[in-house]
Symmetry: C2
Subunit: 398 residues, 2 copies
């Protein structure tokens, strides 16, 4: 046991920041102290006994503070804080997935140069220790794929729809009332939050970094009652799934999109705001990890776990990036798979080049096809699909 | 990345040893080499290209071998090999849960004295990284309980019974034919294998070591058709569950016994030879980990993960045993809970002192009660319950 003492300067006091504060108050760890919190608007937090400031220098220039925790929404400000902490030799824990998905390569390099660790297990799947497991345990080049429900808010909405028969708008309103969705929910329901987490997970699973704009990302906000009924008639549920998979020839592919999931899949039963991740390996078959992916206390608990890991000098080794076996797999979206596509006019349908159409239905109010197309083709028309209200979902075989 | 090279001496070449050998053959890790295998009977392994010996000294005195992997059945021989490896400064990976459940305290001490690491993640739940997760991630004193299906063979049998309507003897035969149960299955079906794993898990979850004979352990071999029908009528499945839980006053309790599990529990759906573990924490609610708990390749994969961890100088810190917050929780079996008890004669029933009986049924061939009793009472008559063919199972509320 390390006898060091962590004296924390915290940036941000939203749901997770406050969750962490409450955890520390309740558990009183002997060697972790929250010294000061930097927020934009001090007046908003007058009810809280912790020392507040609105000036980052009050954190960085405090000689007692030897540890930074960054839990703010703004990705640019998050990047400035995290990189400054590393440059000043202060270990830092971050929960900002958007910032990490953009800057993770620079931050890996900066950790190497400065020798100062950055941990962010809490940034993907809240309390489920996905990153650390990929980094530590699945380090034997046998990993085939990681697939999961990485966003609690959209999954809460989908659960209300598929398990309780709510409409999309009812379900969204309930999610907002329950505090699981922002007033602007597009980060969650359009797949961006899942995308950021997938990028971080992929760096630890396979080493390769892929920028957000290269990855086909499609959400559930365009889903309508026809799509829901289609899935139900097939005995499936629609889930918003993030997926990275190794392919032959040292390649790999990634995407975030709705999938029609059959009952025999683990993630079929991941309900409400829970997250679930299926990790496949060549020799251990499948692992399934499941837990709360959102909320102040579960995520605060993951942040606290990152903090205590630092007490033991834990740091990510980025083993897959430095693997002696050589080159990291290369990203491709030249992959064919089966989709369900609901559209309005025949012109809409021509947007997507199908290799093969196995099912086709038209009626006055509802047209769809089931067919095979490439991820690349979908990616190149993603914005247009959204604008025209076309809905696509992966529709794998049973 | 560490540039060291591991040159392995392996003891044992059963299912897991051979699984590890095949993995190494197929993946050819650059810095891991299997140099020699020590077995009891060399003649049995003539088909295999690896260098074999039946003399342990050929492993220990080989100056090139700098790493020991111990995968034999015999617990006493396993202890001699593992402790010799530690004393001779050779890092060692062991899969022998029976040996660990007995000797873990001495081996922790020996690691401290010699500075040589012993890893054994593969010993509990095969490919599911339970021990390392408890050690690394749930290190914040918020852990409440760990509960799970830790034995694949007995779970395979129970799945055949509850999902496919087989009888116990049919199911046992199928498990043996599928290679999931030994010709003497009592280690699996009577709960001893689960008990050993629970003891190891508890050391990493709460720090406390409890000797096997102090823990109530009851299996499924005495279960009959009446018990199966009783469970089914209540909409439940019987699962063999190992359980450790923290109690008030810095106490904790442990047991291994059949439980009538309702449909809304995660472990209800852990089928076939899979293992599943539910970890509860004060702030992150529940985590569920699920995967293959048995078999040559999944367990070999876990062994390989332990081996590569050593390349990164990983070792268990036994954080819960050295926690600054002080004393480890004390074991108690002074805990009351509800059980289902099927018996033959009224005299049998008098063995168990019930605090309260809430249900009672007698007929010509089948008598049972549902009532509250203490773990301590059950433990003190465990052998007699077995001898008289009395079957007990925990029967928690919904």
């Amino acid at each position: 046991m390390n006898s060091r003492r962590l004296c924390i300067g915290l940036f941000g006091f939203g749901t997770v920041g406050r969750g962490l504060y409450e955890l520390l108050e309740n558990t009183c760890p002997a060697n972790v102290e929250l010294r000061r919190v930097c927020v934009r608007n001090i007046a908003k937090h007058r009810d809280c006994e912790v020392d507040m400031t609105d000036n980052a220098d009050d954190i960085f220039q405090d000689p007692q503070i030897n540890f930074i925790v960054e839990l703010i929404d703004d990705a640019d400000a998050s990047y400035r804080i995290v990189s400054r902490a590393l440059r000043e030799g202060k270990p830092v824990v971050s929960g900002n997935k958007k910032m990490l998905a953009r800057h993770i390569e620079e931050l890996i390099e900066l950790q190497g140069i400065t020798g100062t660790p950055l941990l962010y297990d809490a940034s993907a799947c809240g309390s489920i220790p996905v990153i650390r497991n990929l980094e530590e345990y699945y380090d034997n080049d046998l990993l085939l794929s990681v697939k999961g429900i990485l966003n609690g808010s959209s999954n809460y909405i989908l659960t209300k729809i598929f398990n309780q028969g709510k409409t999309y708008s009812e379900a969204l309103r309930e999610a907002q009332e329950a505090g699981f969705a922002e007033s602007d929910p597009s980060l969650d329901v359009d797949g961006w939050d899942s995308l950021y987490k997938l990028i971080i997970i992929t760096v630890h699973a396979f080493g390769t970094y892929v920028a957000p704009e290269r990855i086909f990302t499609f959400g559930i906000s365009g889903m309508n009652d026809h799509d829901i009924r289609f899935a139900m008639e097939k005995g499936r549920r629609i889930k918003l799934v993030a997926h990275v998979e190794k392919l032959s020839g040292n390649r790999m592919t990634m995407c975030v999109m709705p999938q029609l999931i059959s009952r025999n899949k683990y993630i079929y039963s991941v309900d409400d705001e829970f997250n679930g991740v299926v990790i496949k390996g060549l020799y251990y078959d499948k692992q399934f990890m499941f837990g709360r992916g959102a909320g102040g206390h579960p995520t605060g608990s993951a942040i606290l776990s990152d903090i205590t890991a630092c007490l033991y000098d834990y740091r990510y080794e980025y083993k897959k990036r430095n693997h002696p076996s050589g080159a990291m797999p290369e990203f491709t979206d030249d992959v064919t798979f089966r989709i369900y596509c609901r559209y309005s006019s025949p012109h809409d349908l021509s947007l997507i080049p199908f290799d093969r159409i196995s099912e086709s239905y038209t009626s006055d109010g509802f047209n769809y096809v089931v067919g095979e197309t490439s991820l690349h083709a979908l990616h190149s028309v993603a914005d247009e699909l959204r604008q025209r209200g076309i809905f696509v979902a992966a529709y794998p075989g049973d």
